[in-house]
């Protein structure tokens, strides 16, 4: 007997809320702190102006710690995917029943949207005008297809870690949350200044919706990057892991 679908969806929504509020929130605060500084290069949009790659490490750790906390809080209840790409990859490899997929993704999107809107309300107009609500877009010089590939590779590593540290029955129990959080922090540190390192369609949906509703930038043209890339990367990683593990 598992927890009811309704309660699992609440867990997914709250987990994604935590991810976006603290993770994207860290990006917003970094941009607000850097406001007024002169970027050294056009490749620098503000994150990195204060501490170089250290800015991205800090944002990555904010995401990672929020994810680890959510996994330890909700992992047993819903599985704590807090990411539609992970949900789809687990469905594709027949680990999650099809009837759970749409409710899970809907809950993740609702949680992400609520986090962005609440952050904007709590911090004020600068969160939208300066911080862009932590929205992810390809950075200067990174094309549309390149961004999709980068997001796919990043999510590929994330899903491989989930498969090896959590799905595999031989994994050491209790470490998955910590390891997945640290993996996300590392991925964000490397590809943050290339695509924003979303790895997660819901994490991008919340800030995009918030910016659009609150008179910020209209960024929906980039949304396919953060749908296609993460889903392709996660599904490939799940199938590869199953292939490597089969006798």
């Amino acid at each position: 007997m598992t927890t009811s679908l309704g309660k699992r969806c609440v867990a997914e929504a709250v987990g994604t809320f935590i991810l976006v509020f603290f993770g994207a929130g860290a990006a917003i605060v970094t941009l607000m702190l850097a406001a007024g500084t002169t970027p050294a290069t056009s490749f620098n949009i503000g994150i990195g102006a204060l501490g170089g790659l250290g800015d991205w490490l800090a944002i990555g750790l904010a995401f990672g710690i929020a994810i680890a906390g959510s996994i330890y809080a909700f992992g047993r209840i819903s599985g704590c995917h807090i990411n539609p790409a992970v949900t789809i990859a687990l469905f594709a490899t027949r680990r999650l029943p099809g009837r759970d997929v749409v409710p899970y993704i809907a809950a993740q999107l609702v949680g992400a949207a609520a986090a962005s809107l609440l952050f904007a309300w709590a911090v004020g107009p600068d969160a939208v005008a300066i911080g862009g609500l932590g929205a992810t877009t390809p950075f200067p010089g990174i094309g549309y297809l390149q961004a999709i590939v980068i997001e796919a590779v990043g999510t590929f590593l994330l899903m491989l870690v989930i498969m090896g540290a959590a799905v595999d029955e031989r994994a050491t129990p209790g470490f998955a949350g910590l390891v997945v959080g640290l993996a996300v922090a590392g991925i964000i540190t490397t590809i943050g200044n290339l695509t924003g390192a979303s790895l997660n369609p819901a994490r991008t949906f919340g800030p995009f919706l918030g910016d659009w509703l609150l008179a910020g930038q209209n960024l929906w043209e980039f949304f396919p990057v953060y749908i296609i890339g993460p889903i392709v990367g996660a599904v490939l990683a799940a199938f590869l892991y199953d292939y490597l593990c089969c006798e």
Binding site: M1, T2, G75, R76, I77, G79, C80, L90, A166, V167
Partner: protein
């Protein structure tokens, strides 16, 4: 094996169970069955409670230590 509690009362009862904590022999009257739910799975899939709980026999003293107020 005899029931420890019955022996304290001067009775001679055969033990039918052993306390899982202290190993004390217990008759049916003094054995306390405290079933434990078993959960399987977990992140990144929801945990499932298996239908049949794990039977667990305790003596009155250990039961009070673990669950008494």
């Amino acid at each position: 094996m005899k029931c420890y509690y019955c022996a304290l009362e001067g009775k001679d009862s055969e033990a039918v169970a052993i306390c899982i904590v202290c190993g004390m022999g217990l008759c049916m009257e003094h054995a306390i069955r405290k079933d434990v739910d078993v959960w399987e799975g977990g992140y990144p899939l929801p945990s499932k409670r298996v239908k049949t709980p794990l039977p667990r026999i305790l003596c009155p003293a250990c039961y009070n230590s673990l669950y008494g107020k």
